[in-house]
Symmetry: C2
Subunit: 233 residues, 2 copies
DNA sequence: GACCGCCTACCAGTCGGTCGGCAATTGCCG
DNA sequence: CGGCAATTGCCGACCGACTGGTAGGCGGTC
């Protein structure tokens, strides 16, 4: 009987597990969130949890991988199709902000922020993730470098500028609470402006001001990632 | 014999303990760094460690308190004596950047970043620390608010701007490695410029450009905080 | 001889993870 | 359609390793 209405909203146990573990890892930290905690949050026992999951490490790795896959799909890949560095930079900032800010959706994006830097994971997994982060960082830095070559950047080191922007963006995950005074859209708008002003020459901003007030016309139009497709791989 | 030269550099066991525990908490996370780890790093056994320290919690609380005391001394208190909001903002950004960036000194400043947000600490301690953070944040936000009232801020919400700046500044602790391509002074200079440009109106920056290339002429004149004086209390 | 610095030995509890088994569902065969 | 085996989803009990923390003692300095 319950099966009938679950057919319409078929959240599987695995979905639940990933959702709750993401939440708990973010709330309590990876080491402090025990497998029993996760099992309890899902409503099964620890042994039951291990029926679906190989190890705590696998959980963490899949979670991070999934978060990065979402980032690839929503930010990194679309950005690579934008040839103009200024358009690209604007898109990357805005899309990344949405990516971080929409953590109030299904599963936990802030994993990106919280799980890579403290310490867990085996060295090999850490290395793979560090590598992935490095690619993202370098892409941003090179975009800034291209802008500098065009004379549209202030006299700052592209690497320093890239880290500054990333800090601003990622920190959003730490302070943004759902239901605050401002909507996520308002926050993203304002922060995009702040971010662009921080590195671009004022005259460039002046002449390109047009683009300060619309959502990015990027992939993933309506749908939310169902938290499942990309888990494997 | 060793005692003779130690008299000149009398790092006590307690100093060692706090230095190593700060390092380990930052490296591995609070929960993942065990008391045995810390004892081992200091060169004593766990029981020996407990001769000096009451609990792991006390260690964390003292560490955070100490880090915030340093922040008070080097950033917050001096900033309160600066009446002009623009001078104040510039000082706060620069001093805070130095505060975060000089983690390569004796003990671990990045505790500020790493220990307050994951999860450890008893609820009461957490509350006290959250309160302290709130005071700092509000002070920055109000400084930005004062600038906005004077028409020197871009059209952004002071709260959003404050969080953006804090993210940029605190993130420095995550990416800065000693011995990198740029010196800490170069990084702070550039980031100060980036930070100020992100929120101030371009014409304000133009007219105040003077101050973009000198260390702050603030309290704590020459000397570097010896990271020891404030340990007690 | 009192105190300080520190160790050996040892708690009780929790961790990640395993094992065997038991219901219920599913798939297959006649 | 019935029957029945295989599979799925899950649990209770348990393990060895390790956790934060303690008790008591031992050697050296004042």
């Amino acid at each position: 009987m319950v099966a009938e209405l679950r057919a319409q909203n078929p959240e599987t146990r695995i979905d639940q597990i990933y959702r709750e573990s993401a939440r708990l890892f973010v709330e309590k930290g990876f080491a402090a969130a025990s497998m029993s905690d996760i099992a309890g949050a899902v409503g099964i026992t620890k042994a039951g949890l291990y029926h679906f999951v190989k190890s705590k490490d696998e959980l963490a790795v899949n979670l991070i991988t999934w978060a990065y896959d979402v980032y690839d799909r929503d930010v990194f890949n679309p950005a690579q199709d934008i040839s103009d560095p200024l358009d690209r930079l604007r898109f990357m900032i805005r899309a990344h902000l949405y990516n971080v800010g929409e953590l109030r959706g299904v599963a936990g994006n802030p994993v990106t922020v919280l799980l890579d830097d403290p310490a867990a994971l085996t060295p090999q997994h850490r290395r793979a993730i560090t590598k992935r982060k490095a690619v993202y960082y370098e892409f941003l830095r090179d975009t800034l470098g291209a802008l500098k070559a065009r004379g549209e950047l202030n006299d700052v080191d592209p690497a320093v500028a890239a880290f500054s922007l990333l800090g601003m963006i990622l920190w959003l995950a730490r302070w943004h609470k759902a239901g605050g005074r401002l909507t996520i859209d308002e926050i993203v708008e304002q922060m995009t402006e702040i971010a662009l002003r921080s590195v671009l020459r004022p005259d460039v901003i002046q002449s390109k001001k047009i683009a300060f007030s619309r959502r990015p016309a990027a992939p993933t139009p309506g749908g939310r990632p169902s938290a499942k497709r990309t888990a494997a791989r």
